[in-house]
Amino acid sequence: MIRKASPRSNTLWQPALSPPTDGRIMLEACQVTFSFNGTPVLDKVDLRLEEGKMIGVIGPNGAGKSTLVRLLSRSLTPASGRIWLNGQNLDQWRLSDMARVLTVVPQLPQLPPVFTAWEMVLMGRTPYLGWMGRESEHDRAATRQAMEETKIWHLADRLISQLSGGEQQRVVITRALAQEPQVLLLDEPTAHLDISYQVETLSLIGRLVKERRLAALAIFHDLNLAAQYCDELVLLQQGRVVAQGSPNHVLTPSTLRQVYGIEVAVIPHPHNGLPVVLPVCDSPSR
């Protein structure tokens, strides 16, 4: 097991035994283990989500990234280990209270095609509604604001069935923003977007993380986008954390060779010095 130590991760990663009291840590996983039909999927994972920071989870297919998000959002229950949300054990939260604090942007969600984009985003206000389920003016205003922020207000009248996959993905991201969470978990939020919407969406999420002091965790397949937008990266392999820390400490040729089994070159980005990963291809033409 490789653990890349960085100065920041040394101060950040204290042994997590007691719930934090200063309120800075929003979501904390401690020794979380999960197995599916006897096969271990996650093995003793420790994780802390801090206010105003975005953590990127990277790793090969089947490393347990989506399982981690599903555990953190209580769609799955860990076999052992603890998860705290805002200092309180995750399974002690009432679901509607939890939905005001934490939300998930799922990967490839199935959306009912008969609703309009407006109606779908408005559903993000569900945890704030009373027992008759009637939306207030504030709910509508928050929904409209979220749709304007993600630039999908012009799609409001369209039915979901009339939207492209990328537009549907933006609708789901917008619904999560309308939910006004403090913790945002994203499972490959930009998987179906072209590069302009990838950049736009991630910039928006990054800005909201800073402005609203959100704690965010996002799964990435694109290592370079992860490096650009995340304050910290967690590298998973076969359910174990093999490296964590700043992008510069995690994205090294030797680590990536060990985890992905390929040769890469890592160079600094000409604009901001963040690492850029380039695969080294033995092209037969050269």
């Binding site: 599903r70 959002s73 209580r74 769609s75 679901l95 509607s96 209270d97 939890m98 939905a99 005001r100 939300t103 998930v104 799922p106 969600p109 199935q110 959306l111 009912p112 095609p113 008969v114 609703f115 309009t116 407006w118 109606e119 559903m123 993000g124 569900t126 945890p127 509604l129 027992w131 008759m132 389920g133 009637r134 003016e137 509508r140 205003a141 929904t143 409209r144 604001q145 304007e148 207000w153 012009h154 409001a156 009248d157 369209r158 039915l159 069935s161 009339q162 939910q179």
Partner: protein, 371 residues
């Protein structure tokens, strides 16, 4: 801000009309007005339903008779005394019962279609009709002398059979602690076939042509044996069940998403689904118990309402109740008069009108039904 210029601000932004013009979304302020209009339509149809029949009474006279009762006038009435009996003891309970059954089945159909995310779902999907059919058949074939509060053995045993079958389907469908929607449907189909075979066996076993006709008529549904006791059985059930379902309507909207998304929006999925199934099944079982198995209403009325006003269950459920009530009063009127003096089972009329209408919807809105 809005390119279409339709919404002026966050105060009025519910979509007015989707671009392909297949569903008008009524704004919240409009919804109340539309429901009031629906209620008025039910009242007018009920008045016509009471006036309509082999003994034809002018609708204006019927209205006058209601007015006389309402103000408690004691002077001699300007119409024959038998009219009073026909209107208040025979036709009024029948029309009210038809309205209640139509509303109950339509609302339950909307709930089941939403719960199972399946446009072909109807209130009889999970064993209610076959359970009720077996209960009624037992009551008729054995001629049980059971009575309770003005209700005979047939509605009582039908009610017990409907609830018993649904409970059994629910228990059978639980795989490792969780009821899954697919196993619920399959268990409903299997148990329904099993109970129907018992019903058919009993029908042949009786060897009494009158009883066989009675069972057959009940299985197609009829309001010929309506009375006030049945109204008082179904009325409160529909009121309580309807209020509960209306309170859960928004949660039902969210359940149109998959279970994980619904949970992340704060909905306890299993519990919500159970509440909805129990409430819809109670209402349906009561409706079937007092009227027999009337098909197609619970299937087509929610579809028609959804196509016109959109899929929001907060409006869809109450509007389905009103539309179903109007539809059923008209269907019963036809059932009474088409072969007069013989009465048709009302299920014949609902299927005869409903099936072509459903096919029409299917062709007009193919992409909608495919969803």
């Amino acid at each position: 801000m809005n390119p279409s210029g339709k919404w002026t601000g966050p105060g009025t932004p519910l979509p007015v009309r989707s671009p392909q013009k297949d569903a008008v979304r009524p704004r919240p302020g409009r919804q109340g007005l539309l429901l009031l209009a629906g209620l008025a339509a039910v009242a007018v149809t009920a008045l016509l339903g009471v006036a309509w029949g082999s003994l034809s009474i002018p609708p204006a006279t019927v209205a006058a008779m209601f007015w006389r009762r309402a103000v408690g006038e004691v002077a001699a009435a300007p119409w024959p005394a038998v009219w009073e009996t026909v209107v208040f003891d025979i036709r009024l309970p029948r029309v009210i019962l038809a309205a209640l059954v139509g509303g109950a089945l339509s609302q339950a159909g909307a709930v089941y279609q939403g719960l199972f995310r399946n446009p072909l779902a109807d209130p009889y999907l999970i064993g209610i009709s076959s359970g009720a059919g077996l209960g009624a058949t037992i009551a008729i074939a054995l001629g049980l002398p059971l009575r309770w509060g003005g209700l005979g053995a047939v509605p009582l045993l039908a009610f017990v059979g409907a609830l018993g079958a649904t409970t059994l389907v629910y228990i059978l469908s639980r795989t490792d602690g969780r009821p899954s929607v697919t196993t619920l449907l399959l268990a409903g189909v299997a148990l329904g076939a099993f109970l129907s075979s018992l019903t058919t066996f009993l029908m042949f076993h009786t060897k009494d042509a009158f009883q066989t006709m009675h069972i057959f008529g009940w299985l197609m549904g009829s309001f010929a044996l309506s009375n006030w006791a049945k109204v008082w059985m179904l009325g409160p059930a529909l009121a309580v069940g309807g209020a509960l379902l209306r309170a859960y309507a928004h949660r039902l909207n969210v359940l149109q998403l998959d279970d994980e998304q619904a949970q992340q929006l704060g909905i306890p999925v299993e519990r919500t689904r159970l509440v909805l199934i129990v409430a819809a099944s109670l209402v349906t079982a009561t409706a079937v118990a007092v009227s027999g198995v009337i098909g197609f209403v619970g299937l087509i009325v929610p579809h028609a309402v959804r196509l016109i006003w959109g899929p929001d269950h907060r409006f869809l459920l109450p509007m389905s109740v009103l539309t179903g009530a109007v539809f059923m009063i008209l269907a019963d009127g036809l059932a009474r008069s088409l072969l007069s003096p013989t009465e048709l089972p009302v299920g014949v009329v609902t299927a005869f009108c409903g099936a072509p209408f459903f096919l029409y919807l299917l062709r007009r809105q193919r992409k909608y039904v495919h969803s």
